[in-house]
């Protein structure tokens, strides 16, 4: 996330005179002594932030290194000892995982759950967001306030009722059921995000298109979707990661044949010590896709997360 995450403000409004490496803290009137103090302070801040950054990085590094060690090595010593003996690192855990049909199946289940639910959410929420932003009908603002209210409804409320509903419909345990559930619970946020963004599109553009006699669907496709691109990108990435990382919905609605990676790995957690080879490498694989998405589209993801404040 770069400074443009803070899209509302100029990226760096402060003066940054070259001789002062601490970002222009010192006003011109300051004495040499206070400048020196500021520099020292900045040195302490640097050290502190390096330590904090390490605090955030090292646990993840620990998981990664653990996943490259044999179960015997992991049982015998801490992962950090492997840093001194890189020769003992091995890809055996990952090879074992690829030979494990349960895990490979769960990887594809994660894909099969995540992709359709993300697409459905984006399409349905775009249509609804457009209607709520630019179409005139009775009760529109109340409807949108209702969506805002639904943002915070806890997922737990739906578990029992939907489980019964699915039981009656015969889709309990299936991927379809999981996908539809994610769509239902992803929609309030998705509509909220897109409606607010669409509503900010300049009115003139819409009116010009309507003057030209454009059909609503055409306007939606030709004007709203291209202009709403950034918001749709944010939503897509946010939803993708949200569903990819979900555990609770899968725990309730996916059976063993249709379980995603999170549920498959959770089952191994009961024997944490004994299954550390599967758990560490599996958890790392489950992290790779989100991390790639995050680093590739960090700006959109951060904006999506920020829009989700008070969800």
């Amino acid at each position: 996330m770069s400074d443009d995450a803070a899209a509302t403000a100029p990226p760096d409004a402060r003066p940054d005179p070259p001789p002062e490496p601490d970002g222009g803290e010192g006003a011109p009137r300051r004495s040499a002594a206070s400048r020196a103090a500021a520099l020292l302070g900045s040195g302490a801040v640097q050290v502190l932030l390096v330590l904090i950054a390490l605090f955030w990085l090292v646990p993840t590094l620990g998981l990664f290194v653990s996943s490259l060690r044999t179960p015997a090595d992991n049982a015998a010593s801490g992962w950090w000892t492997a840093l001194a003996r890189p020769a003992e690192l091995t890809l055996a855990n990952y090879a074992g995982l690829l030979d494990n049909p349960v895990f490979v199946g769960s990887f594809w289940n994660t894909v099969l759950i995540t992709v359709p639910s993300t697409l459905l959410i984006v399409v349905i929420a775009s249509l609804a967001g457009y209607a709520l932003a630019w179409m005139e009908f009775p009760g529109r603002d109340w409807l949108f306030l209702g969506v805002v209210a639904l943002l915070v409804v806890p997922i737990q409320v739906a578990l029992v009722p939907i489980a019964q509903l699915y039981g009656g419909a015969g889709i309990y345990g299936s991927i379809v059921g999981v996908v539809l559930f994610h769509v239902g619970f992803g929609l309030p946020f998705a509509i909220f995000l897109l409606r607010n963004f669409f509503a900010a599109i300049p009115r003139d553009l819409l009116e010009a298109a309507r003057m030209d006699g454009g059909k609503e669907l055409t306007i939606f496709r030709r004007v709203i979707l291209p202009l709403g691109g950034p918001a749709i990108a944010s939503l897509t990435i946010f939803q993708f990661l949200w569903v990819w990382n979900d555990l609770l919905v899968a725990l309730v609605f996916a059976d063993a044949a249709n379980q995603p990676m999170t549920k498959a790995l959770q089952a191994e957690m009961r024997q944490f010590g004994a299954n550390i080879d599967v758990i560490s490498s599996g958890a790392f694989i489950s992290m790779v896709v989100p991390l790639v998405v995050f680093f590739a589209f960090q700006r959109y993801f951060v904006q999506g997360v920020m829009a989700g404040a008070v969800k």
Binding site: R14, L49, E207, E216
Partner: protein
């Protein structure tokens, strides 16, 4: 609500725009006016969303309330009994108590951390990299974060990072004893002394040499400096000497209580010479051959003591995932996941603060702390409030991290409402109590819902 029906899209100019108070968007985009499409088309655009919201949110809310009034199997109407059980049932009550701890501690901790990070990153040049690192956990699943912290919190300091760090620090401050397993040779006249140490029963006077035979140390645990033991050095008239050695001959043989050729000294053992009134007259440390000497001792009767710290067990670290600390430990993991979220939101708020306000305060001679306390924080308070409320909503519903990090044996101690709800409804199959818990969670987020709606209406008015 402007409830005028609109002419078809090809219609003429709009007779007057919408009322000013009803502008929808934050950027005040206005409405499409009379050029808008007919109402039925809006319904068509909204229909899929309405179907989903009805089926997955409105219907479940109604059904959960209804279902919570019935018993486990759903055959008998029990009124509010499930809600009563929620507060009297011990496991549910633990969950409730832990939820209170979570809601009080976690949002504050995360918001404060986010504020500190956001303010400090303004002073470094690698702020983008720092934010990236701290924000990264938001992208990965709670399951993965949970696995990461199960590894960090591993009890054995040989394997768990947290305890490895703590025991390293502890060993530097107060080193563990060299011989935790050592004990006196029976019949050698060594009695248990204070604080886990040992005391020679017979008193010693200057000019004497004493024998302190110990057993129980594995040969592998002897330090490299341990050489063949030798008898107490010759004691002059003003000295007490002695030998601490491992009274064990490898392969058998040897005489108990006597120094045999293959027996080795226990270097490093702390020995103390104690006067009759309990005060320490002298201290000494055994050498490689196990011998030691107290020099310059005044005449009198002393007792020889082996301090307890020679035999102190090495510090094994903190039981993070035990019944007492499991909730704070998981809150620590939660902080790790969410601090980036708070930081980014607060940093955006910080960037929007007018620089002049800060500079003016500095020119007036305010210290950095005063600027932070009197200018930055008050100007940030709306953002801090949003971050705090958002976190509170998420914390109320916390599930994955607790479920994943707490080992099976302490799940009951780490319990929170969302986990209990899942356990009751889908483990114990009591959907009546499960529904009551879900409804209770919903009631708890209602204040946040109101906050959200009011904020939204204010921003758009």
């Amino acid at each position: 609500m402007a409830e005028t029906s609109q002419p078809p899209e090809a219609g003429g100019a709009a007779p007057g725009g919408p009322a000013a108070g009803e502008e929808p968007g934050p950027q005040e985009p206005g409405r499409a006016g009379a050029l808008g499409p007919p109402g039925w088309l809006a319904l068509a655009f909204l229909l899929p969303a309405l179907l989903f919201l009805g089926a997955y949110m409105l219907y479940p809310i109604g059904f959960s309330v209804y279902r919570s009034l019935w018993d486990a199997s759903g055959t008998t109407f029990v009124g509010l009994e499930n809600y009563l059980r929620m507060f009297t049932n011990p496991p549910t009550f633990v969950a409730l108590r832990n939820n209170v701890v979570w809601v009080v501690v976690a949002p504050i901790a995360v918001t404060v951390a986010g504020l500190i990070f956001a303010v400090l990153t303004e002073r470094i040049r690698w702020a983008t990299a720092f934010k990236l690192v701290v924000f990264m956990p938001m992208a990965v699943s709670f399951l993965a974060s949970g696995v990461i912290f199960r590894l960090v919190y591993e009890q054995d300091p040989e394997r768990g990072l947290a305890n490895a760090v703590i025991t390293t620090v502890q060993d530097t401050v107060a080193p563990a004893g060299a011989y935790p397993d050592a004990r006196p040779r029976e019949g050698a006249g060594l009695a248990e002394g204070p604080e886990g140490g040992y005391r020679l029963e017979a008193e010693a006077a200057p000019g004497e040499g004493v024998a302190l035979p110990l057993v129980g140390v594995a040969a592998d645990d002897l330090p490299a400096s341990a050489g063949p033991a030798s008898g107490p050095p010759d004691a002059g008239p003003e000295a007490v000497t002695g030998t601490v050695w491992l009274d064990f001959t490898p392969g058998g043989g040897g005489e108990e209580g006597a120094i045999d050729p293959e027996e080795r000294g226990l270097p490093g053992v702390q020995v103390r010479l104690v006067e009759a009134d309990g005060s320490t007259a002298a201290t000494a440390r055994a050498g490689g051959d196990g011998s030691f000497a107290f020099e310059g001792v005044e005449p009198g009767a002393y007792s020889v003591v082996l301090d307890g710290r020679n035999f102190a067990e090495p510090y094994r670290g903190v039981t993070w995932l035990g019944p007492t600390l499991v909730t704070p430990a998981i809150i620590g993991a939660y902080l790790w996941v969410w601090a980036g979220f708070a930081m980014v939101l607060i940093a955006a708020g910080l960037a929007a603060i007018p620089r002049e306000a800060l500079e003016a305060a500095r020119v007036d001679g305010a210290t950095e702390w005063q600027v932070f306390r009197r200018v930055t924080v008050p100007l940030l308070s709306p953002v801090l409030m949003v971050v705090f409320v958002t976190l509170m909503i998420y914390v109320l519903k916390i599930f994955d991290l607790v479920f994943v990090i707490a080992p099976g044996s302490v799940q009951a101690d780490a319990n929170v409402l969302a986990v209990e709800m899942w356990r009751v409804a889908f483990g114990a199959n009591d959907q009546g109590l499960g529904s009551a818990l879900a409804v209770f969670l919903l009631v708890l987020v209602v204040p946040a819902m109101v906050f959200q709606i009011r904020r939204f209406r204010r921003e758009n008015s």
